[in-house]
């Protein structure tokens, strides 16, 4: 085979296959990508929340991108409890200081990092949240302490627009 010079037929065969493969890939990609979030879904990317009525020790849940977001006004004890934990005791070590912008306000996705259920408020062995689906316990900073979840509850991008309003996203 190797000593034979490629014929016109070989060239045509290779060229046709190559063009065919590129063409197929070009058609497949739109078919795959149409399943990704569309423009209208992406447009709902941010939401503003009024937090003036939330009392210390209470949590409100708001919907952002179809997911619940917990906004908890923490008490002094809860903040102290979250900050007194040793890093080596954590499954996913993160300082409480790095998870909040204002220590009084904990803002995070109310989604268990195991399989996506919504954990229950004021439950579990660490005074924070407890996921009823597969038994993950979170502390007062929303960090995973016990159970199958691999990470702490996610802190979304957010900012304080003013003292009473948080903008998520």
């Amino acid at each position: 085979m190797s000593d034979k010079k490629p014929k016109r037929r070989d060239f045509l065969f290779t060229a046709t296959t190559a063009v065919g493969a590129v063409g197929a890939a070009a058609v497949v990609w739109p078919m795959v990508d149409q399943m990704n979030p569309d423009a209208s879904v992406k447009a709902l990317a941010s939401t503003e929340v009024d937090i003036s009525s939330v009392k210390p020790g209470n949590t409100i849940t708001v919907l952002w991108r179809g997911k619940p977001v917990f906004i908890r006004r923490r008490t002094k004890e809860e903040i102290d409890e979250a900050r007194s934990v040793k890093m080596e005791d954590l499954i996913h070590p993160e300082k409480d200081e790095d998870r909040v912008k204002n220590p009084e306000w904990l803002v995070m996705l109310g989604v268990c990092t195991h399989l996506g259920c919504v954990p229950l408020n004021d439950k579990g062995d660490y005074d924070g949240w407890f996921c009823p689906c597969h038994g993950s316990h979170y502390d007062t900073s929303g960090r995973i302490r016990k159970g199958p979840a691999p990470w702490n509850m996610e802190v979304p991008k957010y900012e304080f627009v003013n003292a009473n309003t948080i903008k998520i996203g």
Binding site: M35, P68, L115, G116, C117, V118
Partner: protein
């Protein structure tokens, strides 16, 4: 009896058959030589065909009234239940039909495990069956999402989140599956599309499954190779048709019991609450037929490894023909395998039970032991058993144990050729 010799009697039949040999196919199916000792465990193939057709017909009629939209799906299901003529009946047949389908498929699979039907030369039939089983699970899961109740929504959330266990690309895959940042309308519409498509894929695979079956012919309770056709076989029609038909009637009585007397007993009350992304039901459980795998998932404390264990538990079945090293097919002649077989049955039932219970304390411990045993059965016990087990002598033909055959192998071979 050979297919190639078949000639339709009528002139029109011959004219047609020369152009499209459908009558030859029909003749093959009716005359198809079947082992004459097939017991009632062999009737579940026919029952499963009935289940598939039932799901397709009831599914098509439900789709005429169902609306695949997050705002309307739940209401449209209630509309089917209350307003549509016989909508309640069609939906209850469809919903319970899924459970009946899985009941039949589990009996079918465990029959195959007992009589060694997956062994050479029937590996392809078996693997096609496993693919059908996987597609059934996908169809059942997506179908369960369509009523858009609380269990639908959170079941969909938990199952799609399994993919997030994949390192690096996991999150991207989940977003792609959802078509958003959570289970929502785009997820519902694509699940409806796929739920509609999959039964037809299964139908195609069933044709291949039966085609592959008709090459070596049926295995049988004795598990030996038989000459076809011979004294050991009967034509499929009318012998097997009647037997299958009778078993199907018995099966339909059970089916009808669920549909008419306890249509919701296999479901969850939570699914009559409309989907709410803010609140997860206190106790999420999948449908009963997925419980053993759910137990395996939860028994592993690590997210990725849990998902890997669950998928392996299903995929390990595909390589079963090569894990089982014994040449003897039927458990009737394998005294040790027979015992391990029943332990496996018990193990799977236990997994199903703990899968429905909360994953804590004693339940979790039992789930872990049962999961370990499940893999031990396939990965250690079966390969070793083929070498260690002292099997019983197998008969040379199906007729031999009944009529008393010749113990001399050469003589029996001679007799067999005479029958031929």
């Amino acid at each position: 009896m050979s297919d190639h010799d078949y000639k339709p009697k009528s002139k029109v039949g011959q004219w047609f058959n020369d152009r499209l040999p459908l009558l030859t196919l029909a003749n093959h199916l009716t005359d198809y030589p079947t082992p004459k000792n097939l017991n009632y465990w062999w009737t579940f193939g026919g029952i499963l065909t009935f289940c598939l057709i039932t799901q397709i017909v009831t599914g098509l009629t439900l789709a005429m009234h169902y609306i695949a939209h997050a705002d309307m799906a739940f209401e449209s299901v209630e509309h089917i239940m209350r307003d549509v003529n016989y909508g309640w009946l069609i939906r209850y047949i469809h919903a319970n039909g899924a459970s009946m389908f899985f009941l039949a498929v589990y009996i079918h699979i465990f029959r195959s495990l007992f009589y060694g039907s997956y062994k050479s030369p029937r590996e392809i039939i078996w693997i096609l069956g496993i693919i059908i089983y996987l597609l059934m699970m996908a169809a059942a899961f997506m179908g369960y999402v369509l009523p858009w109740g609380q269990m639908s929504f959170w079941g969909a959330t938990v199952i799609t989140n399994l993919f997030s266990a994949i390192p690096l690309v996991g999150e991207g895959i989940v977003t792609w599956l959802w078509g958003g940042y959570s289970v929502d309308n785009p997820t519902l519409t694509r699940f409806f599309t796929l739920h509609y498509l999959i039964p037809f894929l299964i139908l195609g695979l069933v044709v291949l499954h039966i085609w592959a079956l008709h090459v070596p012919g049926n295995n049988n309770p004795v598990g030996i190779d038989i000459k076809k056709p011979s004294k050991d076989t009967v034509p499929f029609h009318p012998y097997i048709v009647i037997k299958d038909g009778f078993a199907l009637l018995m099966f339909m009585i059970v089916f009808a019991f669920f549909v008419f007397y306890s249509p919701n007993i296999l479901g969850h009350a939570d699914n009559y609450i409309e989907a709410n992304p803010m609140v997860t039901p206190a106790h999420i459980v999948p449908e009963w037929y997925l419980l053993p795998f759910y137990a395996i998932l939860r028994s592993v404390p690590d997210k990725l490894l849990g998902v890997v264990a669950m998928l392996s538990a299903i995929l390990i079945l595909a390589v079963l023909p090569w894990l089982d090293t014994s040449k003897i097919r039927s458990a009737v002649f394998r005294p040790l395998y027979r015992q391990f077989y029943w332990i496996l049955v018990a193990d799977v039932l236990i997994l199903g039970y703990v899968g429905a219970m909360p994953a804590e304390g004693l339940y979790l411990l039992i789930a872990r032991v049962a999961t370990a045993y499940y893999f031990l059965h396939f990965l250690v016990i079966l390969p070793v058993l083929g070498f260690k087990e002292k099997t019983l002598p197998i008969p040379l033909s199906i007729t031999e144990p009944v009529l008393g055959g010749n113990p001399n192998f050469a003589m029996a071979k001679k007799n067999e050729s005479k029958i031929e």
